[in-house]
Amino acid sequence: MAAVPHSDLPDLSDHVVVRRMHWGRWAAVAVILLLLASLARAFAVGQIEWQVVGQFITAPTILSGLLNTVVMAVAAMALGIMLGVVAAVMRMSSNPVLQGVALGYAWLFRGTPIILQLLLWFNLALIFPTIGLPGIGWVRTVDVMTPAFAALLGLAINQGAYTSEVVRAGMLSVDVGQYEAAKAIGMTRLRALRRIVFPQAMRVVIPPLGNEFIGMVKLTSLASVIQFTEILHSAQNIYYANAHVIELLIVAALWYLLVVSILTPLQMLLERRFSRGSAGGR
């Protein structure tokens, strides 16, 4: 603080600033530490055999389940994003038929529970014993509709219905002047979308899509109901045999947490990649 000349206000220039004590904060920390300690103690003395957790965390069955979970999440999300982009473009087109198809798609798959959709895909053989295309060939549905394929279809198609709305919001966030400028240099609508609109929409679309991807990692666990051997299904298979229910659930939980923790920095990298040219830097 500078001295104020020609004034009878007190001179504060040699005073030291005392930091405010945040008593409430300290109290909250103490309470939280106490709660954590008692929780830790409860788990330590509880009926958990931690060495079983350690033993199964890298068991081959668990690891192959983990691989299935990760591959399914990535594949279903990728396919879901493709479907979502197509549905969003259809919804934003000037063709009322395409608009209607996109609306119907979102209505149908957002309106029914995902677990029901998975069961329907898996049991498709009950409706259509054979599937195929005239002139190309027919196969028995049960041979094609494996648990993995049914899970991929169910999860991706459901994801696409949600993603289409996220993509549409991204497209709406781009100024109409951008569409016009793209048209003015002779671009068709699709090329303008791909080259001009989508790269800009990414900035808006990535955070919610990151959210949905995390959701997808956990949604794959529902596919255990159709016998897809993702990590939760693997853990269950083991505890049906050895009765270490909680230990194996903890194993699965730890792996889920690890996978989700890796996704967050990946998302930040992507966000940085697509914020090029926005005000404040590249």
């Binding site: 400028a181 671009m187 800009q200 090029r276």
Partner: protein, 254 residues
């Protein structure tokens, strides 16, 4: 000689509002036409009709001997496909009031986007031409800058270079300086002046009467969707015949 642009009895309504009423205008190759008029008089709508960003309700638009948007055959008009309309637009460059540069691309990327993606020009060639265009608009050293790192005047000059990269026969300007700070207007007008001197055909919607007086071959005054008066700058700006033109010009100069 056949005019480069012929607008024949254009009509356009937005709902009940008639933005253009029976507007006809010819622009010869190499001519610079400035359109002036009060806000809402239909200047932007007219300009957008020329490169089909707006579709008129009736009337015909001819650019370089081609009917815009339709193919005439056996007494019928067939709507062109989107790809064919996109091809027609290449002959026309457009510069917007709010620049509309692509913010995710550098100045160079903005200029090469059309040549590379639309004209399928080899990238190296397109970049060499883009650098030459940047030099022409006085921004040789800004090739790697993103639009957000450029001033308004610099952005508008990049936008002009982007339009020129498509090698258009005709350039449309919609109030290219009215979103700029006063001290940046001059640098954009200088580029446009040079472009006019190089023989480019230009239709310019502007409130810069000084620019119109100096550069235009012809000035068009519009009011309520109608062309009220057209003539040389001296005729329209200094000695307007119509009362509405007189009122507009004295209001702008006041």
């Amino acid at each position: 000689m056949r005019p480069l642009v012929s607008l024949v009895r254009l009509n356009k309504s937005f709902g009940d509002f008639r933005a253009l009423r029976d507007v006809s205008l010819d622009v010869a190759a190499g001519e610079v036409v400035c359109i002036i008029g009060a806000s809402g008089s239909g200047k932007t709508t007219l300009l957008r009709c020329v490169n089909q960003l707006v579709e008129p309700d009736s009337g015909a638009i001819w650019v370089d001997g081609e009917l815009a948007g339709y193919r005439a055959a056996q007494g019928r008009l067939h709507r062109l496909s989107e790809a064919e309309i996109a091809r027609q637009r290449r002959a026309t460059g457009m510069v917007f009031q709010r620049f509309n540069l692509f913010p995710h691309l550098t100045a160079l990327g903005n200029i090469t986007e059309g040549p590379v993606q639309v004209l399928r020009q080899p990238r190296a060639e397109a970049e060499a031409e883009a650098r030459a265009l940047l030099a022409r608009v006085g921004l040789a050293e800004k090739a790697e800058s993103y639009p957000a790192q450029l001033s308004g005047g610099q952005q508008q000059r990049v936008a002009i270079a982007r339009a020129l990269a498509m090698k258009p026969r005709l350039m449309l300007f919609d109030e290219p300086t009215s979103a700029l700070d006063p001290e940046l207007v001059g640098e954009v007008l200088a580029v446009m002046r040079e472009l006019a001197a190089s023989g480019m055909t230009m239709i310019v919607v502007t409130h810069e009467l000084g620019f119109a007086r100096e550069v235009a071959d012809r000035v068009v005054f519009m009011d309520h969707g109608v062309i009220i008066e057209t003539g040389t700058p001296a005729e329209v700006l200094s000695a307007p015949r119509e009362a509405r033109t007189q009122a507009f010009i004295s209001a702008v100069l006041a």
